[in-house]
Every structure is written in C-alpha cells, then in structure tokens.
C-alpha cells in the first residue's frame, strides 16, 4: 500500500514538473509529502517557482500564477490518470493573453485523448474549440441552446 502510493505520487510529481514548465515556459515545481515518516497519512505541500524568480511562499504568487499552478496540478493528475471527459467552467479568467494562448494550445493537444467541455468568455479558448454552443435566455429566466459560429462572437 505504501509502496503503491509512493510510486503514484512520484509519477504525478513528474507530470507536475513537466506541465508546469510547459505552461509557464520554464521554472520548476514539485509536490512534497509534509511528513515522510507517515506516507499514507501525510498532507501534501506544493512548491512552485516561475521562471527567473526566486523560490517563495505560494501566497506571494500573483493571481494568474496561482491559477496556472493549480491548472498544472489538475493536468498532472489527468496525465497520470486520464478521464474520458472533462468539464472546465471558466478556469482561465485571471490569465493574461500570453498564458491563455499557451493553455489553449495545451488543452488542444490534450483533447486528442480526452473529450473537453469548456465554459468560457475568452476568445482564445473559443478559437481552439471544435464546436461552439451558445446558451441564451430569449425568454427571461429560461435557458435555451443555439449553435454559434466563431465570427458571430464579438470579442
């Protein structure tokens, strides 16, 4: 049991480092067991260092850096154990255009193996989608679905 958890943990950790440096364009990140002597019960600590910056407390990261780090952990887990479909509800609201571009391409790559349903307001995300649906309330308070072409969506 302990053996198995450590192996899995190490694999997710490796994926975390890969995905983090892909999304940030460098830098390092890793997961640490808070208490090495209690593998099956210990909490998990996150260490993240964006490129060119010094290693600091996670709380000093910016809003966008925190979101991107959390996304990197999510995709590290998905790399280790893919799910057949994944629903993401506006995960990219705090990202700037550059990071959003990176993330959109990353999800596009990932969508070869898993199906993605993404709820978004951002244009870059719409641009990498295969199909676009609009949810509207033609009658106030009642949701309906319409098909949307990308050109119709003003940025």
């Amino acid at each position: 049991m302990e053996e198995r958890f450590s192996q899995e943990f190490e694999l997710i950790n490796q994926h975390f480092q890969e995905v983090f440096s892909q999304l940030f364009g460098g830098g390092t990140a890793r997961l640490l067991l808070e208490d090495q002597s209690d593998i099956l019960g210990s909490g998990i600590e996150i260490v993240a260092q964006p490129p060119g910056k010094k290693l600091q407390n996670l709380s000093l990261l910016s809003g966008g850096e925190k979101a991107l780090t959390a996304i990197a952990i999510l995709f590290a887990i998905l790399k280790r154990k893919p799910t057949s479909f994944c629903v993401l509800d506006e995960i990219e609201t705090s990202l700037d255009e550059g990071n959003l571009d990176n993330l959109s391409r990353f999800i596009q790559e990932f969508s070869r193996d898993s199906q993605f349903i993404v709820i978004t307001h951002r244009r870059n995300t719409m641009q990498v989608s295969d199909v676009l649906y609009g949810i509207v309330m033609e009658e106030k308070g009642i949701s309906n679905i319409v098909s949307v072409r990308l050109e119709d969506r003003a940025s």
Binding site: E34, I119, M137, G141
Partner: protein, 165 residues
C-alpha cells in the same frame, strides 16, 4: 468512452427540454452572465450522483427544480439524461451506448435509470467508480474552484491524489 448527448428538462433554468450533442475534441459553451452555462455543469454532476445541494449551489435538493419566472409557473420535477458512447468498453456493461437518467420530484422522491431500466443511485455511482468521473472524481471543475487545489488543507488535497492513484 465519451459523452455523446445531454438532455435536460426542468433542471434549474432549463424549463424547456434541451438536447446538446457532443463530439470528441473540445466543445465550448458560451453566453451572457446568468444564461445557464454553469447549470449545465451542475446537470452533469447531478446525473452522475451528486448528493450535496451545496455543491449544486442550492440550499436544498428541491432548488434544482425549475422554480418559475415572472411569466412561467414552476415545474413539478427535474430530469437529466447523459448518453455515453461506450464502444471502447470502459464502463462495465456490454452496451455500446449507455444512458443514465436521474429524476427528482418536489415531493423529494428520486428515480434513477440506466438504459431506461430503473435502478438505484448506488448502481450509477458504482458504474463510474475508478473512471475519475462521477461525484468524487476530479473531472468536473466548477466555476471559481480551480484555485481551491492550492488553498485546501494538505489533508483534503491528499484525497484528490488518492482518487487518482
């Protein structure tokens, strides 16, 4: 396995029957604030067996049933059906297409179906065990919740890893 179709009727703001076809790849859902996008994510989570009203942003389970507008009366029940393509046999059944339906009435009574055959909630939850999908999975990330992975206590973070390990 992939999600082929979603049918919603009477669930939250979906007073009309709505069908959404999905394909592999990426499907984007867009629309104005308050139009019902996150309600779609809630509908999927609910059909997979979610039992906590709070996770569905309500106070009690009845809050998922369409409660009316200034021009429409409330409905008496909510119903969501997920149709999954199982041609790769990931789900433990010989059907190449699997439909999961959940229905709840204002009385509090619930009904569950797999391929239109009545079943228990337990049967649905068990079908998805170990796929990462389903009520304790990590495959549905709700609005504003992605940063939670960082702010959780390290114990609850551990739970996510255990689900994946």
């Amino acid at each position: 396995m992939y999600l082929k179709r979603l049918e919603i009727y009477g669930f939250k703001s979906f007073a009309n029957r709505v069908r959404i076809e999905f394909d592999k790849g990426i499907t984007a859902i867009v629309g104005p604030n308050g139009s019902g996008k996150s309600n779609i994510a809630d509908a999927i989570r609910w059909a997979l067996g979610e039992q906590s009203p709070k996770t569905l942003r309500g106070g009690k389970m009845e809050d998922v049933i369409f409660s009316g507008t200034q021009t429409r009366k409330p409905l008496g029940f909510a119903e969501v059906t997920l149709v999954l393509d199982n041609s790769d046999g990931e789900l433990p059944t010989e059907f190449s297409e699997v439909s999961v339906t959940r229905r709840v009435f204002r009385s509090g009574e619930s009904e569950y179906y797999i391929n239109r055959t009545p079943c228990r909630l337990k049967d649905i939850v068990e079908m998805f065990v170990d796929t990462g999908i389903g009520k304790d999975g990590y495959s549905i990330i709700g609005q504003g919740r992605v940063e939670e992975i960082l702010s959780m206590h390290s114990e609850s973070r551990r739970e996510i890893f255990e689900e994946a390990a």
